[in-house]
């Protein structure tokens, strides 16, 4: 009956857990974790702080053998989640199977964060689909999330469990399909505060413009990080994107956005989330942007590439509510 006693698998297993309410969440995750712990498999759970608290209680003594990480920290920028799983698999997975739980999508995600989380879910197949065997379970809250989000989960996960029944997803897009260029156009929002066509001699001007944008958005404390990240994107345009590009800077309700368009093409789906090799010549710009910025959006279009860097204008409100009592956890919102 339980989905957790399926025959062992010899490759990466990416499974969505569709749950409605806390009881279904616990029923879907606790046996999965417990089976892993009792089989001697390393288990990492990346969840919100309140769910971690609840799982610790539900697991009792078994919780001591489980690694926990707060998704609000690890996955604030969803492009940092795959490197975290890579670290887990490479540190703990030598000759062993592993298990993970990761819930990157919750109701409070902004529209831009949501779509990058969905991209992340697909890219997990590319990152691990041809590697060593491990089992990643991704809970989706069907009460809080839009039906379209659940549909997309069926495309990005090979297996789906709902109401304790596991099945192969008929609309899974496959490993190769998961790495297809991301060409979903980015919405045009607002009016640019400033726009600049830049070439090889204009990097200092580019940096000055981003600095002005950061000041006017009230995020001067993070201006240096944004300038450093954007400078690398503009440098890519100059060196690999046809020698020039267009920079636009604008404010949205909650973020400052800096966008670079050029004639280049990114042809490696994981280009921005693979830890740089130690060799001096290895590329580092997009990786760095993901470490410094709150969100990085990359789109490959027929006529070139668009990269947007987002910095939040106010600190993120994270899901850090700890339940008052174990039996009565708060609703997620």
């Amino acid at each position: 009956m339980s989905s957790f006693h399926m025959p062992a698998r010899d490759r990466f297993r990416h499974e969505a857990l569709l749950y409605a309410g806390w009881a279904e969440f616990v029923a879907g995750t606790v046996p999965f974790i417990r089976d892993g712990v009792r089989a001697g498999e390393p288990v990492l759970v990346v969840e919100s702080a309140d769910k971690i608290q609840m799982l610790r209680v539900a697991l009792g003594d078994d919780a001591g053998a489980v690694l926990f990480a707060d998704m609000a920290d690890v996955g604030a920028n969803p492009a940092r989640i795959i490197p975290a799983w890579h670290d887990f698999v490479s540190r703990h997975g030598t000759g062993r199977r592993l298990r993970g739980i990761g819930e990157p999508i919750w109701k409070g995600r902004s529209a831009d964060e949501l779509i990058e989380c969905q991209r992340h879910e697909s890219l997990l197949n590319v990152a691990f689909g041809h590697g060593q065997p491990w089992w990643l379970l991704c809970p989706y809250d069907t009460e809080m999330l839009d039906e379209l989000v659940i549909d997309e989960a069926r495309r990005s996960h090979e297996f789906v469990t709902e109401r304790s029944q596991v099945s192969s997803s008929e609309i899974f897009r496959g490993i190769e399909g998961s790495g297809a260029p991301f060409d979903v156009p980015l919405p045009e929002r607002g009016t640019a505060l400033e726009q600049l066509e830049f070439g090889p001699g204009d990097l200092a001007t580019v940096r000055a413009m981003v600095l002005r944008g950061a000041r006017s958005a009230g995020i001067e404390a993070r201006a240096a990080e944004l300038v450093t990240a954007l400078n690398e994107i503009a440098t890519n345009s100059i060196r690999h994107g046809g020698g020039n590009g267009t920079l636009r800077v604008w404010q949205e309700d909650s973020t400052l956005v800096c966008e670079v368009r050029d004639k280049g093409q990114f042809d490696k789906p994981l280009v921005d989330r693979e830890r740089p090799a130690p060799t001096a010549s290895a590329p580092r710009g997009l990786w760095l942007a993901n470490q410094l910025c709150d969100l990085v959006q990359i789109r490959t279009l027929p006529d070139g590439t668009v990269v947007r860097l987002h910095m939040r204008r106010r600190p993120q409100q994270h899901l850090r509510v700890v339940p008052d009592t174990v039996g009565n956890p708060p609703a997620i919102n």
Partner: protein, 139 residues
């Protein structure tokens, strides 16, 4: 008149006629200069002082300055406290310079905090010939 203003005058004059005040403000011989960056020789400790900005258009300045200053085989101290910006290509040029030295390390002083972060997250924090010093040996 601050160093930045003096540098601006120097750049505005196309790099010619180094102002005596600039020379003394920088405290040593200029071994490299362009519109965004001036590198001067320091004596105690033996090394170079960087002031301005380094990006892909002038990151060659690191190797060039070390060459122009004809440094010996001992440790070389680079005071980076005057850098208002340094990109990945600039860090890469420091790494390359350190790795290409047959003996002696590159000791980095006054490294801005963000640069230290950048070196950590890009995997350049643990190199045998490149040391980040938080000591008082630099200026």
């Amino acid at each position: 008149m601050g160093v930045a203003d003096l540098l601006w005058n120097y750049w505005a004059a196309g790099g010619a006629n180094i102002d005596e005040r600039l020379e003394s403000a920088l405290g040593g011989g200029i071994v490299y200069a362009d519109r965004h960056l001036v590198v001067t020789r320091t004596e105690e400790p033996d090394g170079l002082y960087f002031a301005g900005e380094i990006d892909v258009t002038n990151s060659h300045a690191v190797a060039e300055s070390l060459g122009n200053a004809s440094m010996g085989d001992a440790d070389v101290h680079l005071d980076l406290s005057g850098l208002s910006f340094c990109d990945i290509s600039g860090i890469r040029s420091l790494v390359d310079a350190a790795e290409s030295r047959p003996t002696g390390r590159l000791m980095l002083h006054g490294l801005p905090v963000l640069l230290q972060t950048v070196m950590n997250v890009t995997g350049w924090s643990d190199l045998p010939n490149l040391r980040i010093c938080n000591c008082e040996a630099g200026r």
